[in-house]
Chain length 333, copies 2
């Protein structure tokens, strides 16, 4: 950042996190990896290699009976499905057994394809698969949350090249989710309105430069206090707290939004690694009135400061307004 | 992780963060970078290149008048020193000007040296420099927090090879700091004891495997709910909330602890990249009774899951007990 260009410190109104936002015009984040898929020799996620994975939990098949999406247990699960939490204290500390589900959603049988290569209908089936798995895991009384996320590219944490997402069902609620819920609850108690709904309305009306995309059902925002260059949130326009209750039509609409964004990111940053995280309601909490589910999509840029996770304090050199403008143009081609 | 070995989910009692802790015996984290310093051609931080940096703010000199430690403003500051915060709202959002200080502490005139190559006395001077800068910046009524951190190695976020730390004075309190303060305040209100003091006592008595090192004044813990393999905390044994109030004798003792740990990490992981973050009280908040300053030291391992910052949910494949045992032995040589 140039000394003459002052920066701004902005607050995320939901979780109360402050972010330094640069005003360095034309900043482009350094990307360490540009994703190019190999031919996929001996890939366990490819069609034909089904015997190399644990048995299938769920699949979407085409009319000829071949799978197009396949859900399997993670071969190296962080949590195991058997057993009970056995919540207990150890002196002043609290612990429970590492029970949960850890699944892999193989998004396409073709090794060469990224989700940005899928058709709107094909990617909708990925979203429907998320939905089906969440609905199923919700029946298990031991679980409190289902975390759905995708790591695209090695630098974003993916260890298998073949396009896939992951799902972790846990007996606890992750901290960031908890903070979002508490933040939106606090706002609701004061205003009797959903904070996400307010942000959507506010930015649509006053800050169109932060609105990357809209269709009938979804809006993509470059959020006011974005932590990372080109971070975006995809939110349903109509208030909804549980992703798994979405209609098929809504998921088709969401698919369109996600694909618009990925095409744009790929054009601007040259197929960067990225993470997609579904921010959804906990399975048991009743936060229907005040929580608003959404996707957060964050391209993985080269480490800038390295202390973010230690402090919760972020420096984003690219203003969300500029990022939003880039992304809008990028997606329109 | 092997399917047969169950994992455990543990809660950090201060900030309430749950972490999945693996029980994979003998796990060694993948390290992407083993730090080896070059000769440092044209390095702006080397002795003799003083004209390549902005004017010096502070220095420690040897008896011949040559500097051994040098503090300069960051050439590309995230925040600028001139101006006022001008806190204001933009619709539903909150912002302020990006004022603050952003300084670089050059820890040695020698390009080839890491802080782990410094003598106990030399590194004590680095700690005294932190102290002097915090004391000075505390006088500025605009600032609420001074964040002191070190990124060692490119993968840990460092862009200059020459050994240095950074300091950012901000008009806001970083979120993680805020959470720690709130968490320890909550505990104090209930128990009338400092949670960090309780943890020190608890682990010393019941879990010696998590105690990496002790001298008269400091203890190094491999914390119960560590987020990362080989994450450690260095805490003063006697309750103290403000790092900058430490005596010279205490800083000498701290230097010994830090150097023990770095030697151990270097032996075990082969000169890994790492971050050191000073967790200190805010400049104005009165949290003397319940907050306990400390250092957090985290080696930078290869991205495992990539969604941690998005969810606040961590998976640590190495148990803190095993990490603690390794680190103890590693430091003892």
């Amino acid at each position: 950042m140039n000394n003459e260009l002052t920066s701004e410190i902005r607050k995320d109104p939901i979780v109360g996190r402050w972010v330094i936002i640069g005003k360095d015009k034309g900043y482009m984040p350094p990307i360490e990896e540009h994703i190019q898929r190999s031919e996929g020799v001996n890939c366990p996620f490819c069609a034909g290699a089904e015997d190399k994975t644990p048995p299938e939990i769920f699949s979407v098949k085409d009319s000829s009976g071949k799978w197009r999406i396949r859900v399997i247990p993670n071969k190296f699960p962080a949590l195991v499905t058997e057993g009970n939490p056995d919540r207990s204290g150890i002196g002043i500390f609290d612990r429970m057994n590492g029970i949960g589900a850890h699944e892999v959603i193989i998004e396409t049988p073709e090794h060469k394809k990224a989700i940005s290569d899928l058709s709107k209908e094909e990617y909708t089936d990925v979203l429907k698969t998320y939905q089906a798995r969440i609905r199923d895991l919700k029946k298990d009384a031991r679980f409190r949350y289902v975390l759905v996320f995708k790591n695209e590219g090695e630098k974003a944490g993916s260890s298998v090249e073949h396009s896939h997402s992951q799902l972790i069902a846990t007996p606890i609620i992750p901290k960031r989710v908890y903070e979002e819920i508490n933040g939106s609850k606090f706002y609701f108690e004061y205003k009797k309105r959903c904070i996400f709904c307010d942000i959507i309305q506010h930015d649509s009306k006053f800050f169109p430069e932060r609105v990357v995309f809209q269709n009938d059902d979804f809006i993509i925002l470059s959020p006011f206090a974005a932590r990372f260059p080109f971070e975006t949130w995809i939110l349903p326009k109509e208030h909804a707290s549980a992703f798994e209750d979405s209609s098929d039509a809504l998921l088709l609409s969401l698919s369109e939004a996600v694909l618009f964004l990925l095409v744009s990111l790929n054009r601007i940053l040259g197929n960067p690694p990225y993470n997609i995280i579904l921010h959804n309601s906990p399975l048991k909490n009743d936060c229907a009135e005040f929580y608003h589910w959404h996707l957060e999509i964050i391209p993985k840029i080269k480490t800038i400061a390295g202390f973010e996770w230690g402090t919760g304090f972020y420096i984003n050199p690219l203003s969300p307004e500029e990022a939003g403008t880039y992304l809008k143009k990028g997606g329109e081609g």
